[in-house]
Amino acid sequence: MYGRILVPTDGTERSTGALETALQLAALSGGVVIGVHASPPPYVMAPELGLAAPIHDAWRREREQLGQDAVAYIRRRAGEACVRCETLLVTGMPPYDAIISSAREQLCDLIVMASRGRGGLAGRLIGSETWKVLSHSAIPVLVLR
């Protein structure tokens, strides 16, 4: 039923449930899973001073590694489940924005994601990125605990 299913990953265990569901849905419909990892822009306390180059480089390397690992996991699981899969790394925009625009550019017809990711503020009922995706997405969003 859903041909192109976008599944965002933040590289934590919280997104594995969404991945498994996306794979199952794709397997049923013969669809494709599009795995997306979004690296947010760096937090800079004083933007006018910038971030010292070595620190920024180290930060970027670490983020890149995390993103590569996250999408590699998606490709591996998709291979095991015999589901076609594409992966994307998006940098420089807030995760919800990266998810929404990737879904649009990749012509996805469903987003599957966890109700909260790594930015887990314990008291919050639903993750802020998930909430923003729900508010902005033109396509259905399947939200998992």
């Binding site: 397997a27 489940a81 729900l134 508010s135 033109a138 396509i139 399947l142 605990r145």
Partner: protein, 159 residues
């Protein structure tokens, strides 16, 4: 892990309806989904009763409690719309109307009581002030649901 294609993903889908256009879109999508996945549907409409103060009630010319019949008829009408769509698609559908102060509580309780493993709903209901932001009832369902929730945002008519 077993081959995912062999497992029926969702057996029973809860479809809350409030009779609005937004929920009509969710109902339609749910029926399509149920047909594609061989699931059955539990159609729910919540007749929302409002808590009233005894003193305020005494000062009212019309007792709000008297309208329960009207509310029930409204809820049954909403559910019938889903049942009809499901019947048209050959999908099994259990109609359900409940009285509750809170739509989100009723949705969560019904999902539990009827063993639903997926909830399909619009991103906001008939009380949505804004077409752009997801509604408070949807937020409460998302926060309290033990099962996955499929959230559908209505198409913007103006754009």
């Amino acid at each position: 892990m077993a081959n995912p294609a062999n497992t029926q993903l969702y057996k029973r889908i809860l479809v809350p309806t409030d009779g609005s256009d937004v929920s009509a879109a969710a109902e339609h999508a749910a029926v399509e989904f149920a047909r594609a996945h061989g699931s059955e549907i539990v159609a729910l409409s919540v007749a929302q009763t409002y808590p009233t103060y005894a003193a305020a009630e005494a000062s009212m010319a019309v007792d709000p409690a008297l309208d329960t019949e009207g509310l029930r008829a409204w809820a049954e009408r909403n559910v019938r719309r889903v049942s009809a769509a499901a019947a048209g698609a050959g999908v099994a559908c259990t109609p359900l109307t409940v009285f509750s102060h809170s739509a989100s509580d009723a949705i969560l309780d019904s999902a539990r009581d009827h063993g639903c493993d997926l909830i399909f709903m619009g991103s906001h209901g008939r009380r949505g002030l804004s077409r752009l932001l997801a509604g408070s009832e949807t937020q409460k369902v998302l926060a309290g649901a033990e099962v996955p929730v499929m959230v559908l945002r209505p198409k913007l008519k103006s754009s």
